[in-house]
Amino acid sequence: MTAVPAPKLPAASDDETLVAAARTGDHDAFAELFRRHADQVRARITRIVGPVAERDDLIQQTFLRLYQSLRDYRGACALPTFLHRITVTTALDHLRSARRRLTEPLPDEALDPLLAVEINETARAQAREDLRALFFALGQLSPKKRVAFLVVAVEGMSLTEAADVVGASAATVKQRVLAARRELVDLLAKAEVAHV
């Protein structure tokens, strides 16, 4: 009778240990990284591309890119930062390749999973309308402007941090954010007029 070796991973491995193990082809270690960061990646992708059906594929694509990039990851930045860059790139690629704009408002079924469970029905209805209007307006922006605006205005990054994540200069990011703001304000104004 042969004893099976105990699991290789210690109970509380840090990201660095898991990355080192994943680099050697340890899928369990990489799966642990996935479990730790999947929710954050999902939330970010949803904010950027909206509650589209493809976001599960985008999450998988993000982690596959991370896996393929582990050899190049030298720990110069924290893993979440590294992963954030990959997430944004994946989302941006999707927006570029989709080449289609939202022509219909998002249905309630797509928006409901994004809302906190504990809020009451009135607040839910308001939050639904808010998200519907914002995603619709964001859907009219170019992918670059949309991503720059979201990482700065929604995720709260500085222009320097955003520049690092989207791979452009801080000045370029600033221009994109300002242009996106102008367009969004106009779009929301038009929507308001249409409602009236």
């Binding site: 105990a6 059906a53 599960d56 914002l134 929301l188």
Partner: protein, 501 residues
């Protein structure tokens, strides 16, 4: 006016910033299974270095009989052709069928008999699966294959970005696919990921992942139902073999044994599986010893016989509610000092007779004699179970902490969560969540989900409990757990209603 609009935009950004679109626990497990599969595909071109030679072909336990011989039974796998349906799983949906069904595949078509599950690859990049009765045939070229669904519901996965343009036809409509996971039968198409285009007499409709289209209501889409989603996820998680795969037929006693690869159940026996040489499989059956086999490099039949009265019967330990039937034939006791196996057998008999003290003493003797790691882990797990039953949580934890190997890792992990519940540990619910993430294909995953749901509800975390309770309420559970789920479900629903008012 402009300032007001700027403020409105900032307010909307705040709403979006608060969006916290987390995976459900089941969703995360499914996503992890898909990712693991993709990782395996990504590295499958590397040589397998872990093989240790023909001696590792079989035999984890001394009492298990594994015979490998040239296949005397008809092989269900079609010969390789330019475009062919090549089954990699052929197995009954429930165990106990004693012989294989012949003529399932002829290369160009698959005919799945009633009650059988077949999964097959179409060259590299497409997999299909169905539970019989079902029939499909393939024509066209490797780049532009066409599947004709004649009967049944087919689960299809197409690896994207391979330049494959798959077309599927049914008697009433046609489906064009680029890269996706979906199911199709004569009346509907259900898409899990990606996008397909359906052409029917009423017009053309594009269906995104998460939606279902019915021929009878061709202009409206419905959300994908849970059953289809689960079936498609299971199909995606059942990896198709790499180019160097071989077919093994696994037959023996008892029929209906489960075949496991890592934490994933592949099929029940008798089964014909197409797998990469060197793949390590485990065979388990209730009340029988576990066996490990390694897929050899050439096509074979592996005949097994799982010993019924083995001391290392870890399966019994996985279901502590079900005590084993006492053996009808008295075990022959050697004249010399009892072996760990003899002692474990004594413990087994004592448990069956309800003699917990006697069982405890025999199990402790197993530990003191030592020498057999798997048996000792099984004894520790039994002792932990008994300790928890008697309310000694500290002892239960101590025994569980001493479990070393992974032969009983799954039941030990679940028992640890039960100890946490009994100890009013705040992390008890997370313990069940971690269990389900670690053992996504565990036969106890449904019970663990229900236990997590009940625990979260008892911790007044109805927000997280409710989706799990809703899910658990639709599952087949032991009566006490089912009652607990329904009680918490009513309580959480009523508390949500009162919060909303």
């Amino acid at each position: 006016m402009s300032d007001r609009r700027e403020q409105e935009l900032d307010r909307l950004c705040g709403v979006l910033a608060r969006v916290d679109d987390r995976h459900s626990d089941l969703g995360r497990s499914r996503a992890e299974a898909r990712l693991r599969k993709a990782l395996r595909t990504a590295v499958s071109r590397r040589p397998i270095s872990a093989l240790t030679g023909a001696s590792t072909l079989a035999v984890a336990l001394a009492t298990i009989v594994i015979i490998v011989r040239p296949s005397p039974i008809p092989d269900a796998v079609a010969p390789a052709t330019a475009l062919a349906l090549r089954p990699y799983v052929v197995a009954p949906t429930t165990g106990g069928i004693a012989s294989f069904v012949q003529g399932i595949a002829d290369g160009a078509s698959l005919d799945v008999p009633d009650g059988w599950l077949v999964r097959a690859s179409v060259n590299d990049g497409i997999t299909v699966g169905a539970v019989g009765p079902a029939r499909v045939s393939v024509t066209g070229t490797a780049r532009e294959p066409e599947l004709r669904v004649d009967r049944g519901r087919w689960l299809v996965e197409v690896t994207p970005n391979r330049g494959i343009h798959l077309r599927i036809s049914t008697p009433t409509f046609a489906v064009a696919v680029i890269g996706t996971l979906f199911s199709v039968d004569a009346s509907e198409v259900a898409v899990r990921h990606g996008r397909v285009r359906v052409s029917a007499p009423g017009g053309t409709t594009e269906i995104d992942g998460g939606f279902r289209w019915r021929a009878s209501a061709s202009t409206t889409l419905e959300p994908l139902d849970d059953e289809s989603a689960a079936a498609l996820d299971a199909h995606a998680a059942a990896s198709s073999p790499s180019a160097g795969a071989v077919t093994v037929a696994i037959v023996g006693e008892p029929a209906g044994a489960e075949i496991w690869q890592d934490a994933r159940r592949l099929a029940v026996t008798p089964a014909s599986l197409r797998l990469a040489a060197g793949t390590r499989l485990a065979l388990t059956a209730p009340g029988r010893a576990r066996a490990t086999i390694v897929v050899p490099a050439t096509r074979t039949t592996i005949a097994y016989s799982l010993a019924a009265d083995d001391a290392a019967d870890v399966t019994r330990l996985r279901a502590s509610r079900q005590r084993p039937t006492p053996s009808t034939t008295p075990a022959s006791r050697p004249a010399a000092a009892p072996t760990p196996r003899d002692l474990y057998r004594d413990a087994d008999r004592a448990l069956a007779a309800g003699d917990r003290d006697g069982a405890r003493a025999a199990l402790r003797s197993v530990l003191s004699v030592g020498g057999d790691d798997t048996l000792m882990d099984a004894a520790r797990l039994d002792l932990a179970n008994l300790a928890l039953e008697s309310g000694d949580r500290a002892a239960a934890r101590r025994y569980l902490d001493e479990v070393r190997g992974d032969a009983v890792a799954e039941p030990a992990a679940r028992l640890r969560c039960r100890v946490a519940v009994a100890s009013f540990d705040r992390n008890a619910a997370d313990c069940f969540a971690a269990f389900r993430a670690r053992f996504p294909a565990s036969p106890h995953a449904a019970e663990a989900m229900a236990e997590e749901a009940v625990t979260r509800a008892d911790q007044n975390d109805c927000a997280r409990a409710l989706p799990l309770l809703d899910n658990a309420a639709s599952l087949s559970l032991p009566a006490d757990l089912r009652d607990a789920v329904h009680a918490r479900l009513s309580r959480c629903r009523s508390s949500r209603t009162s919060d909303g008012q």
